[in-house]
């Protein structure tokens, strides 16, 4: 055992930025090998209603049946703010809750704001919809139907592809 170089509560917050070691693949469609991890094509919008366009929905195949997370991006092309108030994934779970990360802590939220002429992004380590007590195990290559309830725009049904556990979108 070596001596601990620091005393007290010591934590390493590792902030890795692009440009190092070849792993900083920010944007640009990612590396070819990453693209191969992706199951669905995602250049086209998955769904749209009014001024809202749902992009890049995905649900990584969960390790066990009691919990999963799903992600998507909402683009708002209109001048008004909207809010995602509720999500139902009736075929998979009766419990879909929205979460975000604040000060490195995951907290449950009542909904998400969709800014005018802006985007709401759900992604790994940030905003995500958590599903618990899944009715069945989602299979990679399959999909689940989600219904998104927006305060002003109304409901949008989105087909969410089930992707591999290691899937990371090339750009959020």
């Amino acid at each position: 055992m070596t001596t601990t170089p620091m005393t007290g509560v010591a934590v390493i917050v590792l902030i890795l930025a692009a440009g190092c070691g070849g792993s900083g693949t920010a944007g640009h469609g990612g590396s070819p090998s990453r693209a191969s991890v992706a199951a669905p094509a995602r250049a086209t919008p998955a769904a749209s209603v009014g001024n809202l366009v749902i992009m890049q929905p995905y649900l990584p195949r969960p390790p066990v049946k009691d919990m999963a997370a799903l992600y998507f991006t909402v683009r708002n092309t209109g001048p008004g703010t909207d809010h995602l108030d509720r999500i139902e994934v009736a075929g998979l779970s009766s419990d879909a809750t929205m979460h975000t990360v604040r000060n490195h802590t995951m907290v449950r939220v009542r909904g998400y704001r969709v800014p005018p002429h802006g985007t709401l992004v759900l992604r790994r380590g940030g905003n995500h919809v958590m599903l618990t007590d899944l009715m069945q195990m989602p299979k990679a290559g399959g999909s689940v139907l989600a219904r998104l309830f927006f305060r002003h725009t109304g409901e949008i049904d989105v087909d969410i592809p089930v992707v591999s556990q290691t899937y990371v979108p090339s750009s959020p």
């Binding site: 601990t4 170089p5 620091m6 590792l14 890795l16 792993s23 390790p63 907290v107």
Partner: protein, 222 residues
């Protein structure tokens, strides 16, 4: 995506590395990092590793845990001589923990058989109350049947985490009925011999792990 956003990208119900007293910033261009005493951030030009890896002057943490068979597991002794990967997390984490473990699982599966058998992938739960050995096994089996899942007393877990400077915060329910648990923002790699620790971001892309694990197995320095 990739490691660009490693900062603060915790996970569902996860408190990531709170109470930070040490911020290690490896910015673009590298080389300007202020790590723990003796830490050596590598840069793209020098390191044969594809991931951004930081060398730390820590030995593998000690501690006697309980494995998923309910048997004692001495972290130092029972992994001695083996290339080892260590991650602190918990099995009720829907977001980042499964991505990290799946990436390790995919990368380990691509190793040549001999290296694969030699590798030890160790997951220490930061949520011992909910992560029973049985629960840990079921969860880990989704990533690697031979992954080692460890639990133990909170004291043992926190002490091991502290050795590698992960702030494991004792899980507690929140007012809203939510449940906050720590997971590490890092995966620690230990070469078969020596007293160094090679630190990867927990969100290192799978192809970087695939590239780098054979190097770790051979004891190549990042």
């Amino acid at each position: 995506m990739g490691v660009l956003d490693a900062r603060g990208r915790g996970a569902g119900r996860c408190v990531v590395a709170g109470l930070a007293t040490l911020v290690l910033t490896a910015v673009a261009g590298c080389g300007s990092s202020a790590g723990p005493p003796g830490s050596v951030p590598t840069s793209a030009g020098e390191s044969p590793y594809q991931a951004h890896v930081v060398r730390l002057p820590f030995a593998k943490p000690a501690g006697v845990f309980t494995d998923t068979n309910g048997k004692p597991f001495d972290l130092k002794k029972d992994t001695a001589g083996h290339p080892t990967l260590l991650y602190f997390g918990y099995a009720h984490c829907p977001d980042v923990c499964p991505l990290t473990m799946a990436s390790l699982g995919a990368a380990v599966k691509k190793l040549p058989e001999q290296q694969r058998e030699d590798f030890r992938v160790v997951f220490i739960t930061t949520d011992p109350r909910r992560d029973t050995p049985k629960r840990l096994r079921a969860w880990l089996d989704a990533f690697g049947k031979d992954f080692i899942g460890l639990t133990g007393s909170w004291h043992t877990i926190a002490r091991a985490a502290k050795r590698v400077h992960v702030a494991a915060v004792k899980p507690k329910p929140t007012k809203s009925g939510d449940y906050q648990v720590t997971h590490g923002a890092q995966v620690f790699g230990f070469p078969p011999a020596g007293n160094q620790t090679y630190m990867f971001s927990a969100e290192t892309p799978v192809q970087d792990f695939e590239h780098d694990l054979p190097l770790l197995a051979k004891g190549v320095r990042p």
